[in-house]
């Protein structure tokens, strides 16, 4: 089905985007900006915490390793303190056992103070150390006077354990090493030190596996000397203080002082090697009073931080795009069937009711609308079909009504003056019908030579039924009004007939007068009609007071009253229907009895035709095109 292209000035999709997408976009932009600036700081903070944790972790791991190394020495010192001094062989095997148990230890010595091991032997320091193949043993005393070595002298002087500065143990392990020394006591007297060495090569190997971002790590001893640094040349030669001096960075010296004081921290400095601003994160290795540090170029950190921020922002931007697409998709989902409906409606407006919208699924409002549309076209189609029939029927009824009206009009006497030869009276009547068939009628007919029956009536309701009722009443009146019949009786007869089978409950007001043209006397009966007005030639008037009995067709048993009246020469009896006094102006004013009487009085000296013309003209001027009811006026004048 082709609904045709519908151009919409402000499409729904745009509206949805504008009302949902735009505020969302604004919120998102604010959130993104906030995220960018806030999460930048946050990411930096997180990064600091992360580096801090990581550095602490590595420092702790190293500390744990060194603790195991020192533990071995302490074990031997404790054993010597508690038990008798072992024999040479026992010492070697004890140290070998410790060495084999702990891969971190390169070598161990039990160095005795002069004559402490044996009063005949001055120096005795059994030493075991690893080689490529096996664990070797020998007496250090054969190589050098170890008592002058820091690893011996310092713990002896300090009377506490000591992790020494790295050194090349020539004549001992013959490698770069750092030595832990535990003073040994026997009965409270210093008898020597128990040592454990770590190989700096092993440490270097282990350290080279530690990666912290794109930076590097280093370890300084308690004197600030690099015991490990990725630049091999620095190891043992340079220290953090020598670099600070060489690079003229007093700040770096201050950092170094904190590091060797066992503090933990994070700071920035200019990397001596690269000249780049870098972060320095340091954490102590408490066991040996060393400090582990990581150096990361700030640009690397910022790269990571920025990528973290960028990732967050990207996720948000993607989220935003997805929401926008969803809005667009949803709006197209909504507008597509609506556009089809629009096209469909367009077709309906052009009268094409044979189409039906199909292919729109779902259980939403749109689907309901489509269903309603389809039902509407279906109903419309049938309604129009029905309407066509009804219109045709109405047209036929209207044409029949038109005929009925013509017939109705034709029922009324049309020739005036009806009795041109009569000198005693003059009679004129005029019926101004409303648009529809109404029920006003008048009639007059001679009952004999002297008496004339004059009737004016107003049938309730409008339309065919009223017209028919009027025709029936008129015919009936002609039938019941026979010579010499009292008008009340004629009325009663007519009433009885009209009441019978009056299922439609139609009724009519009716005034009947039987007027003697010779004497001017008349007998009247009134079934609820407006009372006649009698106007003299001088303009004075009187209302013919009657019994206003019940209208015809209502009560079968009704007895009608009868009255008599005398019409003087020159007097005109005016019979009229309520269409006169209830005529309404466009301003909703009633014409009224007073205005009617006034115009009658004013023109009382005129001929009946002239009076009717004046009244008609006045009524027309009053109600303009506003006539709702039939207007019927009948004038009877006694000429002599």
């Amino acid at each position: 089905m082709n609904e045709g292209k519908v151009k919409v000035k402000r499409p729904l999709a745009r509206k949805l985007l504008l009302w949902i997408g735009l505020p969302l976009l604004l919120v998102y932009i604010i959130v993104i900006l906030f995220t960018y600036f806030w999460s930048g700081d946050n990411a930096l903070k997180q990064m600091k915490e992360y580096l801090f944790e990581l550095t602490s972790h590595h420092a702790c791991m190293l500390d744990g390793k060194f603790l195991k190394v020192s533990g071995a020495s302490i074990g031997i010192a404790d054993a010597i303190d508690k038990f008798s001094i072992p024999t040479k062989n026992e010492l070697y095997s004890l140290m070998k056992k410790k060495l084999s148990e702990n891969r971190n230890i390169y070598g161990m010595a039990t160095a005795f103070d002069p004559f402490a091991y044996n009063n005949k032997i001055k120096l005795f320091s059994p030493y075991v150390h690893r080689t490529d193949k096996e664990i070797q043993e020998f007496d250090l005393a054969e190589s050098y006077d170890y008592t002058l070595q820091d690893w011996f002298m310092i713990p002896k002087l300090l009377r506490t354990s000591y992790w020494g500065e790295p050194y090349f143990d020539e004549g001992g392990g013959n490698i770069l090493m750092a030595t832990y020394s535990q003073p040994m006591y026997k009965d409270g007297n210093f008898i020597g030190v128990s040592t454990a060495d770590i190989s700096l090569d092993d440490l270097e190997l282990e350290m080279s596996n530690i990666r912290i971002m794109a930076g590097y790590t280093f370890i300084i001893t308690r004197t600030g000397t690099f015991i490990y640094h990725p630049i091999k040349e620095y190891m043992m030669n340079e220290g953090i203080f020598s670099l600070a001096e060489e690079d003229e960075q007093p700040e770096l010296r201050a950092i170094g002082k904190k590091m060797i004081a066992g503090e933990q921290g994070i700071t920035t400095f200019r990397d001596v090697n690269t000249g780049e601003k870098s972060w320095l994160v340091y954490s102590p290795i408490p066991e040996c009073h060393w400090s582990f540090a990581a150096v990361i170029p700030e640009k690397e950190i910022m790269k990571t931080v920025n990528s973290m921020v960028l990732r967050q922002v990207s996720i948000m931007v993607i989220g935003l795009l997805i929401i926008m697409l969803v809005i667009l998709w949803a709006s197209f989902g909504i507008t597509k069937p609506i556009k089809r409906l629009l096209g469909f409606a367009d077709k309906i407006s052009k009268g094409d009711l044979d189409e039906k919208i199909t292919g729109i699924s779902g259980h939403d409002e749109i689907h309901e609308l489509v269903k309603a549309f389809n039902k509407m076209t279906y109903d419309l189609k049938h309604y129009i079909a029905d309407l066509t029939v009804a219109t045709k029927e109405k047209e036929s009824v209207e044409s029949e009504l038109r005929i009925a009206r013509q017939i109705q009009e034709s029922l009324l006497p049309r020739i005036f003056p009806p009795f041109p030869d009569a000198e005693e009276f003059d009679l004129y009547a005029r019926n101004i019908p409303a648009k529809e068939v109404a029920g006003d009628f008048f009639d007059f007919f001679m009952l004999d030579d002297e008496n004339i029956a004059v009737i004016i009536a107003d049938v309730s309701g409008k339309g065919i039924s009223a017209g028919l009722f009027m025709a029936v009443t008129r015919t009936l009146m002609k039938t019941v009004c026979v010579k010499d019949i009292p008008p009340a009786e004629a009325m009663k007869k007519a009433n009885i007939v009209l009441c019978q089978d009056n299922d439609a409950c139609m009724f009519t007001t009716l005034f009947l007068a039987i007027y003697n043209i010779k004497t001017g006397k008349m007998k009247w009966t009134n079934a609820g009609h407006d009372e006649p007005i009698i106007i003299s030639e001088d303009g004075s008037y009187r209302i013919l007071k009657t019994f206003k009995d019940i209208a015809l067709g209502i009560d079968e048993t009704c007895e009608y009253h009868e009255g008599e009246a005398q019409l003087e020469v020159g007097e005109v009896m005016v019979l009229y229907t309520d269409g006169v006094i209830e005529a309404t102006s466009p301003e909703k004013e009633l014409y009224g009895e007073e205005r009617f009487i006034k115009i009658l009085s004013k023109n009382a000296d005129k001929t009946l035709v002239e009076i009717l013309d004046v009244v008609t003209e006045d009524l027309d001027g009053f109600q303009k095109d506003n006539q709702f009811d039939d207007i019927t006026i009948l004038l009877l004048k006694r000429e002599k």
Partner: protein
């Protein structure tokens, strides 16, 4: 054109002259300094590396002592021609009638000192009592002993290794130090100067001039010109070193690396500066004035040696010292 014979001969002479000059053999000598390569010996390294010795017609081999061999003894044993040594040690040897000669006293000021940490509570030498003081042996102990005598104190002195770790960790309260070396190492271990108390022996009338150049008497007698050339080239080396410190440090560091010295450039820079101070002390910046052994300095040292009974007689100043640089 006819070329005249004298002109040809002259041309040949000009061509042969450089060959003659180049063909002159340089005199090979060996020269030993007291310790491994460091800025303390920068002038010799520079003179050698910059070709000053070569220009002086000397093919010098610089030897670095590892501390186990005594350069002065090496000279006396005629294994080497020249060496550097401390005045005190040389006087002691001379006092034993050994034919050792000081031919150039380069360092005028003693760099030996005692250092303590302020945190140890030491303010004056009197505070050394009950403290642990460490001293090197040999020449290095003469000034401290004299100092303790002068101060009338008898601190507990223990032998000192070549490292300062004992002092740094607080095992030793007062340590001996060379201003150009250990003192700076203390600073490079993160201890600030204002955290230290220093005792320079020069401030206590114990200025023992240190490095001088020595040879045997016969070396000077046999070839005074070579000796003069050697001393001049050495002084030139020192003058160049002080004027071109960074270049000098490059050379020194090259040697340090070759000898696997555990050191760094900033330390050597400090040392070079400190040596310059010691060399120019009281004689000024002009190299012309360098190399003099002042008589009063000589007797200060000799008398203290006598005092400490390290010598029995004071050798004659004239016999001991020959001012080769200014001859």
């Amino acid at each position: 054109m006819k070329i005249k014979i004298p002109v040809i001969l002259l041309f040949c002479l000009v061509l042969l002259l450089p060959n003659f000059l180049l063909g002159q053999e340089r005199q090979e000598i060996s020269f030993m300094v007291q310790w491994f390569p460091q800025a303390q010996f920068a002038g010799y390294i520079v003179a050698h590396e910059k070709g000053f010795y070569n220009e002086a017609g000397i093919d010098a081999t610089i030897l670095f002592s590892d501390g186990t061999d005594s350069p002065l003894q090496e000279v006396l044993d005629n294994r080497i021609e020249f060496c550097t040594g401390w005045l005190s040690q040389a006087i002691m040897i001379r006092s034993g009638n050994e034919p050792i000669l000081n031919i150039c006293q380069l360092l005028q000021k003693s760099s030996l000192m005692l250092v303590a940490k302020k945190e140890s509570g030491i303010k004056t030498a009197q505070d050394f009592e009950d403290k642990i003081v460490s001293n090197w042996g040999g020449d290095f102990s003469i000034q401290p002993i004299a100092f303790f005598q002068k101060q009338n104190i008898q601190p507990d002195v223990i032998p000192q290794s070549f490292r300062i770790d004992g002092f740094l960790v607080g095992a030793i309260d007062v340590t001996s130090a060379m201003y150009y070396n250990e003192y700076h190492k203390i600073l490079q271990a993160g201890i600030d100067e204002d955290e230290l108390v220093t005792f320079f022996f020069t401030d206590y009338d114990l200025n023992f001039p240190e490095d001088g150049i020595y040879c045997r008497e016969e070396t000077l007698q046999n070839d005074p010109k070579m000796c003069k050339n050697f001393i001049d080239a050495t002084i030139n080396g020192w003058a160049y070193a002080f004027q071109n410190k960074e270049e000098t440090l490059d050379l020194v560091m090259k040697y340090c690396r070759e000898y696997h010295m555990q050191t760094n450039r900033s330390h050597q820079r400090w040392m070079l500066g400190a040596i310059e101070t010691a060399m120019t002390y009281q004689v000024g910046d002009d190299p012309e004035n360098w190399g003099i052994l002042k008589k009063e300095d000589y007797y200060t040292v000799a008398e203290e040696l006598l005092n400490q009974k390290l010598i029995t007689t004071i050798p004659s100043y004239q016999d001991f010292y020959k001012d080769v640089a200014h001859e």
